[in-house]
């Protein structure tokens, strides 16, 4: 339709975002007392397998019924409205915690997943990935992104369900078990 513009380059989030971007309640998409509250947690690792203590993560997901929220209020939550967006800075040992719900499939037969964006000091541009729920093995097998990956890489996108119902999802920026990061059709070859 209209002119194609060249996107502005990204840059690293740097070390000093902590006083600016994270906000109170950013990690709680629902309250911990919500009957379907699920803990989503993990650790960000570098190429040596050491935790990355200065990373910020964002998630964006459908609600338990698979509906996409377009409600405002992610930055100042009212405690009732599901806005689908969360942001958290990892702690000093690279660990993060979100409190959310299991997303429903947004289309019938599709494997439900949470979209995630990764930022860090030392990371020159943001990275996108997906956190798939582990349960619907048939839907996972049919998923076009997962089925195009070799088995050892596919598993990096599937969260582990822990005994207490928590989802565990570690992010490995580099090296053994490197997380699969995604590009989308409207990204340039180098973005």
């Amino acid at each position: 339709m209209s002119e194609q513009l060249v996107p502005t380059p990204g840059q690293t989030i740097g070390p000093f975002y902590g006083f600016a971007l994270p906000y109170a309640g950013g990690e709680n998409l629902v309250d911990r007392t919500h009957p379907n509250a699920v803990r989503l947690h993990g650790t960000v690792y570098d190429g040596h397998g050491d935790p990355v203590p200065d990373s910020m993560l964002e998630i964006w997901q459908a609600d338990a019924e698979g509906n996409v929220s377009q409600e405002p209020g992610s930055l100042i939550r009212d405690g009732y409205t599901f806005t689908g967006f969360g942001r958290v800075a990892v702690d000093n040992v690279g660990h993060y915690d979100f409190t959310t719900v299991n997303p429903g499939a947004s289309e019938p037969g599709k494997a439900p997943f949470i979209a995630m964006t990764v930022f860090a000091r030392g990371l020159l541009n943001r990275l996108f990935t997906r956190i798939y729920l582990p349960e619907d093995t048939q839907a996972l097998a049919n998923d076009p992104v997962l089925s195009a990956l070799p088995e050892d890489r596919r598993s990096t996108l599937i969260a582990a369900r822990e005994a207490d119902g928590s989802l565990r999802f570690d992010i490995r920026l580099q090296g053994d078990g490197e997380t699969v990061f995604l590009s989308y059709p409207n990204h340039r070859a180098d973005s």
Binding site: G47, L127, H187
Partner: protein, 261 residues
Amino acid sequence: MAEPVVSSDAAANSQAEISADMREISRQYAESGVVETQPRIDYAPYRSSILRHPTKDLHHADPETIELWAPAFGQRDVHALEADLTIQGGGEPIGERMTVKGRVLDGNGRPVRNQLVEIWQANAAGRYIHKRDQHPAPIDPNFTGVGRCLTGDDGSYSFTTIKPGPYPWKNHHNAWRPAHIHFSLFGTDFTQRMITQMYFPGDPLFDLDPIYQAIVDPKARERLVATYDHDTSEHEWSLGYTWDIVLTGAHRTPTEEDSDV
């Protein structure tokens, strides 16, 4: 991994060594004939990138439902006064008062309407309000360096602030960042999410800075440099800069509803 073991904060190299590495990468890029528009994520002169960049190619994904939408932000989230970083303390912050304004567009040239823009920056002395910033420059009690706004119907944004100072960092010996303002942006779908830095025209530190130079294409990195705009300057009050931001293309054609949330 075959990567050399380099502590990210070792400050072991001189500026001359870092500059020589950057020049060599630029030379190879110029010879390649390829056009790049984004930063390299594997850019060794920026030491802390060495162990923090994926070594495997990004995997192509066709966006699915959730990725075709972005979170909605509204008046509930952002107060209009948050766009003025000079009124957050009990008095006037010290430094050059300035305005930066522009538009947020998607890759098709469409304005990104009613969407969140966040900025953060050092004060006029090059110091952040951050507990890990150890630069021995003064903190300004009247300046936090944090601002937010929502774009208008034409994608426009505007911040009033203080011009940030350059500051030292530990990438190598005597390393200084060019003055910059960090920008965080959302589009109409989640695949457009980005964080970047805006620079000021004519900064003598550009050639020395491995974060800026990680965008190896000279035209591409100039897209991060604001333009001094005398019409944006205000008589006996502040200096003005303009800077437009282009996100990657939206995968879903935004509708009128996108502006109603």
